[in-house]
């Protein structure tokens, strides 16, 4: 089973939930953990894995063979991202705009374009002391595109390689979130009961409505904002699976790199319960709720 943890708003507690869920279930199930927040990956600070393999994450960039190029401009016509331009009697490539789709290479009548891999980040793989198979993507500084790294990270793991795969999503509700959650069996949405938390949760409800993925909500920092989440969720028929109160000792422990389940061990059984609820929900035949 594949569970994605997402939120819309940043800093609501995605990584706290994802890492605690993984640590709670690892003694019972084989667990894979993928940190898909490649712009700001933080799960390793809590799970403390031993990394045993680092590979470059790449996209394929076109390279023009000047000897063959007749400057016909076909490559410029087929590029949807304006990543190629004719400057004088040369074709120039703008690497930051290229999405690596391969159209220019394929369409060049002179076969004057080859593709060369360009590193835009890294994929790190390892294992935690609690036997969680761990993977994280990391976007290189000044590179704009996180999505290819997320796809490459996910391709490093097989879906049936574990009983449970946990995907720690980036914040927001656009391309990198879609790349993370689109093939999940269930999406756990973490929110906080503030106007900001609720507004961004709505965005994520829009995303899961489009992917058609069942979802549940965890309300974090209950007591801090006083904006009820229930009314919004009632309209969408999405359950609240857990409420975590705002407590200074949780904030302090997380800041020091501790798991929620280490700060307050009673949360272990709560995360196991959540997993069981999700499992039962997914087992039910369609149409019954």
């Amino acid at each position: 089973m594949k569970i994605a943890v997402a939120s819309g708003k940043g800093g609501t507690g995605k990584t706290m939930v994802a890492t605690s869920l993984a640590a709670s279930l690892a003694p019972r199930l084989s667990v894979q953990f993928l940190d898909c927040d490649v712009e700001a990956p933080n799960a390793h600070l809590f799970l403390k894995p031993v990394i045993n393999q680092v590979t470059p994450a790449v996209i394929q960039l076109p390279e023009i063979d000047k000897a063959r190029c007749t400057v016909c401009g076909r490559c410029i016509q087929v590029c949807a991202y304006n990543a190629l331009a004719k400057i004088g009697e040369n074709i120039l490539v703008f690497p930051q705009l290229c999405h690596g789709c391969g159209s220019c290479t394929r369409q060049c009548p002179e076969k004057a374009i080859i593709e060369v891999p360009k590193q835009i980040g890294t994929i790190s793989l390892g294992k935690t002391a609690g036997d969680i198979s761990y993977g994280m993507g990391e976007l290189s500084i000044s590179e704009p595109m996180p999505t290819p790294i997320i796809n490459q990270l996910k391709a490093s793991f097989s879906d049936d390689g574990a009983d449970l795969t946990i995907l720690d999503s980036p914040p927001g509700a656009s391309c990198s979130v879609v790349a993370t959650v689109h093939d999940a069996d269930f999406v756990l949405l973490v929110t906080e009961p503030t106007p900001f938390g609720l507004h961004d949760l709505k965005q994520m409800l829009g995303v899961v409505a489009q992917t058609g993925t069942p979802a549940g909500v965890i309300v974090n920092r209950e007591g801090i904002g006083g904006t009820p989440v229930e009314n919004l969720l009632f309209e969408h028929d999405i359950p609240i699976l857990l409420t975590i109160p705002f407590r200074i000792e949780i904030a302090e422990g997380l800041a020091a790199g501790e798991l929620l389940t280490d700060i307050l061990p009673e949360y272990k059984t709560r995360f196991i319960d959540i997993f069981n609820v999700i499992q039962n929900k997914l087992k039910q035949p369609e149409g019954t709720k």
């Binding site: 600070l45 656009s174 503030t194 900001f196 020091a256």
Partner: protein, 311 residues
Amino acid sequence: MIDKIPQVKQLVILSGKGGTGKTTLSAALMHLLSESPFEGVFVDADVDAANLALVTGAQILETHLFASSQSAFIDPGLCIACGICEQVCRFGAILPPITEQEVYQVKDLLCEGCAACVHTCPESAIEMVQQEDGEWYHSLTPYGHQFHAELFPAAENTGKLVTTIKQHAKLYAEDHHIPLMLVDGPPGIGCPVISASAGADLALLVAEPGVSGIHDLERIIKTLQHFRIPALICVNKADLYERGTQDIRVLAEAYGYPIVGEIPFDESIPHAMVQAQPVTLFKPHSKASIAIRRIWKNIRDALFTKGATDD
């Protein structure tokens, strides 16, 4: 002294990590700016989690459609199910038929709009269809004009949308001789952050003490160094984890970026958010408001006093 401003200065608020308080601080700075001799134009560049309007009482003056991306569409009447489109698509966006009666389909959510399938389909059965990605707004707040947007859920082109609203905000500022454009930035370090930071004269980084906060702070610092944008740092919830705040001071020192203020944990911040107000307006004498006023003074000096920037 502000009669003849040669250009619009650009201040961008960033953090790396999400949820450190960028929008709270942006709203408070808008309020403080409106009480100062300076005027500002405001941009919410976090277009897929756009929250600034929730605390600035923005009244929308103009709404514009943002239609930028394209998605492939396969005409089922023309498709002969040869499968070439699936072979050339590098984004996994082409779904093969399940039964013999069906043809190939495009999964819109995964389509990057590259049109590789359109160029290779032997039957010319595929065309690109314009998508509506979001809306952007020109609004009026009690503190000045605000440009913001709502990306539709799961839509694309965040960077382009950020660039679009910044362009309109800058034009407005130039036309009305407004000396400052304040940009509330998105989290992360990728495409929308790069768009939000383009052309910035100064960045204000909102850091949070703790292992995640400092890890992501270092990544945004390196990003700004790469683009040669000078930055100031402030620490939010600074007293929640004193050891982490000390770590941030050491990191800031190592990179040569000054810390211009430390905001203590203060419940007036979430309370102000619920009341839909900037914290400096809601509780002007709260611990947080006093700290933010000091930060604003430092930013003002850095932006408008000669010799205090680009250090």
